[in-house]
Each structure stands twice: as structure tokens, then as C-alpha cells.
Subunit: 290 residues, 3 copies
């Protein structure tokens, strides 16, 4: 029956399920939204079984799951648990989208913004704050597109671990861990890079004007911090492809319109089949042509 | 886009968000109801931001907030917090209605009932239980309408504080604090009053038949207690303009029909623009012409 | 007004209200679903009053309650509390369905399955796990249909208590408590029985192949366990009227289709009037003719 109502089950790790994600779900065409807050991994089995055991296999694409909450690592644990309890071998599964803290849609929108200003294949890029949930996703997407990616972190050791994990997924990726935590090493880190994407913690300035003033290779700067001071000094939060001293700049709000479109498209896509897992790469692919 | 679905975000301070408020919201035309229970002030920012950052400014009037719960003071704290996190300077706000414990709609309906039986301007009134959340609102509305208002309380000191706060809002108000806690002082308190509105705690008898039998000025008695014994002895909960010994009487259920109409109208009004704060006076104004 | 939206208030004793019950409610035609988790008996009054005090008596059949959760006894306590706070004497009530842990719909579907293979009147039956919530309901329904029912339990004393309670409700019922906990007594217990319904705890094997191989009276075996090993050895969970060695067999999934139909029909039935209490027998009656 194609007329079953479209149900989205929102599993949120925060006490109160995100209003933001709920509004987007409704605006994406969800007809019934079942919202759960404070969801713990051990509660996932019952919630997933309730979703997959109620409608026939042919109708299961009208039910879907969304995993959210402000803690991306907690969301990832829920997603792993969700996948464990699907029974695809019996046709009993529903599609699921992870967008905890907006990490996947933000990373996708940032890389989409960069792609507007030149082919990413072969582009020299650096991700500052590259070991956080958004930064890792940005690095993954850039590597998939064939960019040469430096993953920057205050602790080079952590950056190296991220690069290793990414190389395990993309064997031919061009990835390099770099230390980028103080003026001395951040200047070295951005040397020769044309694209910088900053995905650090709120309030942490990762790249000052002084530190980048002598770097002639810079072409595009994207900062994903939502609250001042931003991660890249000199960018404004509303910048959307704005040229500043010959460099194209984006701030979080400038990237936000694309992020929202991708988020809505990803929710809508869930209802096209009952076997999708939409994580960073799938969400990014959705952004194509929006 | 005028076709975005009408979303009401219900912030309730009780563990379980009020079924009553939810049914009224649906019957008032809300299309998507996001209900939150046990909401604390420190959680309000994220919820408000989720509401204001998801739709464009032109569409934000299709999203609104409702603050409820059985504790009116707690609801008032949430409302204050809600207002703090709107960003009207950027057009980023949504309208909000406070009706914790039905205080605003009940007070509005009570004063509307009184107004049916004579111009309130110059009317001599007394509000028994006048320092509670409903009583204070009744006194405010009566004062706005130009009535001469005595605010009665067991503790005259608390009544005096309420009168002071109201005079700060309505400088030309005719307000007088009175002690009204035992037969001796309640008889003095109602002397010369034509309108009595009792808004005391459940089960507290504030005015006995004996205490009012010698008061010849009484014309209208309104009691807002939902459970017997009522605050004004001799009134029945279903009284709706019923004459008893030449005095027009209203009980809580008699006022209830108007209260429900005002409640529904207030919820519907939220979706007319994105910048309203509907508290006692705005809710009362809505009752005009219903 | 016949166009008020159909509201179902779901009271669930588990922390997270059942996704399963929510999907079924939507698929049964519910238009607005208010879901509450972790509901405690002392919270029921406010929730019920919110449901019955918001719409006029003529419209109250468009509001209904559902009591669920994995703990059937806890659900029964909620149902008792729900009934206490209705005010049918004033026309102020809404219909309510109990289906905690699917107990009523499962029991109804099991007995419906048995009825497909011969008149239940006079049938010799035994309910294994007959003192649990599903087992008691199965015994009740079989007794109502005029079957001769043995109630089996590891502890015969508990089986005797169940039989006594059922006889108080159905004075002419033919009920007999039996001990059925080990090979010696289970063989005696099933002697002469043509119908066995097993409703024991998950993972408990109540009847082995060896224990039933010499029992020539067996005609129908129904097992309601959802996880292997099943309660009746030799049945498969998907069996749906499958003949095995001349005996008709049903497993939990085989009974599941009818269970779902009954569940949906019961939810839909709630909205036909505002005075129904749908427990085991009412739910079973609904299954007639589905």
C-alpha cells in the first residue's frame, strides 16, 4: 500500500529531542514524527523492532529512523546499535539517517561550498579541527573527491589516527596528519594549501590573520563555527562566497542554506527505499545537484 | 511559503505535558504539536533556537511556542527565558502564549463574565485570593478596565506588594490591598463592593454565606475553584449567570466555556505573526467579541 | 462536530512509549497521537481529566486512550486508575484499550486461530504457562467459548487461583488447574486434550516432542513464544496452520497477522463511542469476522 503515512522515528541522545531536527523533518514531508529523547544504546533494540515488525516489507519504506542529538559520538553508538537490530535478510529493515549535531549535513555543505570554486580533485586542502566529528567527516569527503588533505590537530598523534582510519576506508587517499595548534606550526601546516576548512570547537581561534598573511597559496577559507570568535580570524559568520583580499570566504550561516537543503533532501530520501544507511558520504552524495 | 505546516512547540514544566493543552491546541488548528515535559529554564535556549533557526523569517509565523504546566511561577520563568533567546533584531522570533495552569485564560474568562453584567469602569470589585497567579491576573485586568479593585489576601502585606507591582504597570489604577482571611476582616473587605471574584486555592472557603448576608452592595459573584468546597459559599460550580437572591453567580464550569474559546482563539492567534507575546492582557483582549 | 481530529492518548509504562503501538495506531486511522512514557498510576488522573474535559460530550468519541508497555500487570494498574477517573455519570468519558505487551491481541489471535480448526465449544484444551498474563487471557477466552480448559502451571496452587478467579467471572466454566512443569506431570496434563496453547515465558520449553509423542488426542498446537527455543518443541515460529504429523501447528509469527488485524480493529473501534473499555473479551469479540 503506497498510502501508508510516512513515519519518522527520531532517536535523540539529548533529554529533549531536537526542535531543529523536528521542524526540518516536517518541512521535508514527514507525516508522523515519533520523537524520543535521552535514548540509550540498550533501548534501541525495542524501538527498532517496533519499527520493522509493524508494516509489511513492501510498506517498510514508509517508516524510517533519524539519529540525532548534540553528542556525535553518542549518535554514532546509536547508529551502530540500530544497524545491529535490523533484519535485512528477511526484508525487515527501515532506512536510517545519522545527523547528530548536524555533523553530516554541515560537513557535506562545507565541501559542497568548496567545490563551487574549483575541482576538488588534486586540490591542496587542510582541515583544522580535523579530529572532531565534523572535521573527520570533512576530511573523509575531501579525500573521496581526490583532494590532497592535511588533517590538522593540536595533537598530531590524534590526527595520525584519523588519517589511518580514513586510509583504511579509502586506500588511495592522499592524507597527511599535521600539528596545528600554535602560530609556529599552523603557519607550516597551511603552507601550500589552497583550501582551509575550520571545524574546531566553538570559540577556538585556529587561524589568525597574522598567521595566514604570508601564505600566498590560499584561495578558499570556510569556517564552520556558529559563535564568535570564529575559527578563522577575518571571516564573518554570514560570508557566503565573499571575496576578502582575493580569498573566497564562507562562514557558518553562509553554508547554512545548503546545509538545510541537504538535511531536508536526506530526510526525504529515507522514504525511497527501506535499506539505506545515510551517513557522511551518502549525505554528501545527496547534495549533488541540489 | 504559506503552506508550511503550523507547528506548536509546547514547553511544559510538569513531567508529562498537559493532555488538556494538547487537545485544545489540535482543536485550535495546530497541525504539528511538539510536546516537551519537565522543561527547565536552562534547556529553553536550545529549544527556542531550534524553533527560530529552521524556517525563513517570512515563514516563522507558522511556528509558535506554548508555555504551560501546573506551576504558574515556573511557567513565568520559562516565558522570561523564551523571550531572552528570541532574536527579533534579525527577524528571528516566533510568537509565544503563556497559559500555565490555565491562569491567563481563566482570568480573562472571569473578567469577561463580569463585564457581561455592567461596565467595569468604576465598578467596585474585590479579588479574593488576589495574590495567587490567577488572582493577580484578575486584578490586573480589572484595573486595566478602570474598576476600583481591592486585592484581598490573608496577609495584607502580600496584597500590598501585589498592588504596588500592578501600580507600576498601570499608574492610574485604583488599587487597594485588604486583609481578607477571617469573618471579621472579610466582612469589612467586601463592604461597598458590587463584584467579587474568588481565585483562591482549591478547597479554601474565602467567603461564607453568613459573611456576605448583610452586604447589600453585591451584584456579581464569580468563583473559580474547580473542586468543592468552592471559595464562595452558595455558588454552584455550574452556575453561569444564575441569579441567586438577586445576585448573579458564576462557578468554574460556568466560566469554562468562555475560557475554552479564549484558549483556542489565543492558540490560533499565535500563527498570525511571529512577534507576539500573549500573556494576561493580550489573552484578555482576544476574548473581546468571541 | 464530526470533524474533530481523532486523538489517541497512549499511556505506556515503559520509559519510551512503544514504537510498535504507535505505528499500529497511525495505521489504524489515528490522526493525532499523544504518547507518554514512564506513566505511573498517580499521574493518570491529570492525563484522563485532560482528555475528558476538553471536548463536548458529543465529541468525546473522537478522543481515546491506549494503555500499553511491556509489563502487563503495570498496564492493568493503569487501566484500573483510568477507569476510576472517568465521569460517565456526566457523559465525560473516553474509550480505552488495554494491550500491554500485546497480551490481549495475542490471546485473541491465538484463540481465533484455534477456532478455525473446529468448534471450541466442548473442545478439550490446555493452556501451558496458563498463569501468566497471556495465558490467563487465553484461558478466559476459551472458557467463554465453552471449551473444557486445563490451566497448567509449574505450581498447581497458582493455577488453582487463576481458575477460581475465572470461575468467579464465568460461573459455568469448565476449568481445571493442573501441574505441568516436568515430563511426568506434563504428560498427564495433556492427556485427552485436543488443543494445546503455550503462553509461557520466553525461552522456556514447556512441552517436548518426547512428552507429547504418545498423546493421541492432540489436534492443534499453538505456541506464542517469539524467540527460540519455543514453548512447544517441533513447532516453527512461522507455522500458520501447518500440519506436522497430522497435527495443526501455529507459531507466534503465524498468529501475528491476525494479531495485527485485531490490534488495528480495536484501535479503530475506540472511536465509535466514548464509553468502551476494551480488555481481553472485548478485543476477542472484535476479531470475529476480520
Amino acid at each position: 500500500m503506497s498510502d501508508k503515512r510516512k513515519i519518522l522515528v527520531q532517536l535523540d541522545t539529548d533529554v529533549h529531542p531536537s526542535v531543529f531536527d523536528r521542524v526540518v523533518a516536517i518541512d521535508a514531508g514527514v507525516e508522523e514524527l515519533f520523537s524520543y529523547g535521552g535514548v540509550k544504546p540498550e533501548q534501541v533494540q525495542g524501538l527498532v523492532h517496533g519499527a520493522i515488525f509493524t508494516r509489511g516489507p513492501a510498506e517498510l519504506k514508509r517508516t524510517a529512523l533519524f539519529v540525532g542529538g548534540s553528542d556525535v559520538a553518542a549518535g554514532e553508538r546509536l547508529l551502530a546499535e540500530v544497524r545491529k537490530h535490523m533484519l535485512p535478510q528477511f526484508g525487515l529493515s527501515v532506512s536510517v539517517l545519522l545527523d547528530a549535531n548536524g555533523a553530516n549535513t554541515t560537513a557535506a555543505a562545507a565541501v559542497r561550498a568548496a567545490a563551487r570554486h574549483g575541482d576538488l580533485k588534486g586540490t591542496t586542502a587542510i582541515v583544522l579541527g580535523g579530529t572532531g566529528p565534523v572535521g573527520q567527516r570533512v576530511a573523509l569527503l575531501l579525500a573521496r573527491e581526490g583532494a590532497k588533505v592535511r588533517v590538522g590537530s593540536r595533537q598530531q598523534e590524534k590526527a595520525a589516527q584519523v588519517c589511518e582510519r580514513l586510509k583504511a576506508r579509502i586506500p588511495d587517499a592522499d592524507l597527511e596528519p599535521v600539528a596545528a595548534g600554535d602560530p609556529a606550526n599552523v603557519r607550516t601546516a597551511i603552507e601550500g594549501r589552497s583550501l582551509v576548512i575550520a571545524a574546531g570547537a566553538a570559540g577556538a581561534v585556529l587561524l589568525t590573520k597574522a598567521d595566514r598573511k604570508d601564505c600566498s597559496s590560499l584561495r578558499t577559507l570556510i569556517d564552520l563555527s556558529a559563535v564568535p570568535p570564529l575559527g578563522i580570524e577575518g571571516i564573518e559568520i554570514g560570508d557566503k562566497g565573499k571575496e576578502r583580499d582575493g580569498i573566497v570566504c564562507y562562514g557558518a550561516i553562509g553554508v547554512g542554506g545548503t546545509k538545510m537543503k541537504i538535511h531536508r533532501a536526506a530526510v526525504a530520501r529515507l522514504f525511497e527505499s527501506n535499506d539505506q544507511v545515510l551517513d557522511a558520504e551518502e549525505v554528501y552524495a545527496l547534495g549533488q545537484g541540489l
